[in-house]
Assembly symmetry: C2
Homo-oligomer: 333 residues x 2
Amino acid sequence: MASVNRQWLLASRPQGKVEESNFRLVEADPPPLAEGQLRVRVDFLSLDPYMRGRMDEARSYAPSQKIGEVMVGGTVGEVVESRNPRFPVGETVVGTGGWQEQFVSDGSGLLRVGGRGLPSSVWLGAAGMPGITAWYGLRRIGRPAAGETVLVSAATGAVGSVAGQLARLAGCQAVGVAGGGAKCEHAVRDLGYAACVDHRAPNFRQALRAAVPKGIDVVFENVGGAVLDAALARMNDHGRVALCGLIAGYDGVPIPITNVRPILVNRLLVQGFIVTDHMPLWEEAMAELAGHLRAGRLVYRETVARGIESAPGAFLGMLRGENLGKQLVRMAP
Amino acid sequence: MASVNRQWLLASRPQGKVEESNFRLVEADPPPLAEGQLRVRVDFLSLDPYMRGRMDEARSYAPSQKIGEVMVGGTVGEVVESRNPRFPVGETVVGTGGWQEQFVSDGSGLLRVGGRGLPSSVWLGAAGMPGITAWYGLRRIGRPAAGETVLVSAATGAVGSVAGQLARLAGCQAVGVAGGGAKCEHAVRDLGYAACVDHRAPNFRQALRAAVPKGIDVVFENVGGAVLDAALARMNDHGRVALCGLIAGYDGVPIPITNVRPILVNRLLVQGFIVTDHMPLWEEAMAELAGHLRAGRLVYRETVARGIESAPGAFLGMLRGENLGKQLVRMAP
């Protein structure tokens, strides 16, 4: 193990958009292990939209990230030193290691994911937190019946791409919303969406309407704002909106729901959710997602930045929507 | 029975606010009864906010009211002539007779409510559609646990007054929102609200905050707009919003939800509903509400306009919030 641990700290809170200067790279001396502890070498760091919320001071579903602390983040890696019999050296573990090259843990919150016949990075993506988020929102909130129409915003992202494929596997018409023609092409060609609408196109609302001729029964919402308003206008009676994210508002942009009347008139359910509220369901979800992945029924894309130095830039790119699929940082360059 | 039936027709669609000129009073000849039909003399007509929506041409949960037809409305009255053995002369029946002095029915949609030891007008109010609406929204969507805080907007209205009392009977802290000091006093003095906040007061948001020191677990929402936004800002995690009405927007005023983030961050459920979707539950609800009424646990107020001529004026007054409790028209002056 390297004798120095490089870490990204939160240096300052963003004023509106995040900038690279909000982060600071430091070198720390790795501490020795106490009894019961283990050391993990991080192979992949996950970059996710929720991190943007943690950088603010505002009340959120998790404590805001403190200035001067290591940025929070999901990681997958290998146990390289262990004084904990549950986690032997060589085991692959997924957990919340943060934006750093290595970390020490007592094992709480770590899951062993080795020996399941899948590349380790999937435990940060399609079979990990984003995939489980898609599974929960679609299955437990959206509850689509075969033949229904499911609209997924941020359709090609780490969460949306799984939500859309799970909808299709459930016999639904999956329709995506994504930013830009390339993502929309990928959604239809690779991810099995019946159609995908570019929310940046000037005729977005008409294109959405044309893409859902039978109306919308379920919305898996990652974006908010104008995209959600347009979806609400096309909802069928008793439709469900699984509210997973509001990425349109993460830089402080207002994201009102202007189109409130359909919630009443069409008797809609709108349910916000956070996947970490539902830890008892994770094993069930992971097993199902891993089964789909091994069978090739569920495909995924990754955008991989190389080297810990690249993390802030990759994070900013993800917030701008430049990644395709799951945004990762491979710690070794 | 009078040989002439006076009826209020929809004369024209409102441009923004409703005006009396949107209605026209006509006299019609009552038709003879066919086999299986009965004639009801209307004693009370119910005036309800949903009627405003029917007057527009926009897509709503019910077909819009046609120009030149009798205004829709709930009624209670007495069977005065019958060729239907299920509804003998003298029986009290509640149904959707409309804004007229008498009507002919084949009995479908009529409920017999005589002999239950309550004045007939309650079947249009606390034990009728508004009361059942309160019961459904609170019990099936809000599901408050004892000790939780339940916020009710339009707290003294026909629906809100029952919702607040049912919340209190369930062991909750019921907090009302109403327009004006007189209604707020009535809410606390007569309806058992722990507190009531005047949404017209300049310090509304601070007053609401002070009235819910433990936050809000359930919102029974009849108003929308700024009232709902203020409520969302005070929600506890996993709170529920039973969206029953959006009276703030009935004249075409925009009623955006500006405060969308709490729906995600606090994992809220927002569920629109219409009580007529749930007819199989009406008997259960009516029996429970009638029991509370007979025992004096549930109190109600009525604002009664006299004579069919008064209906449009009373309806406009209700939309302006001038009534206290259930707005009725007693057909006999």
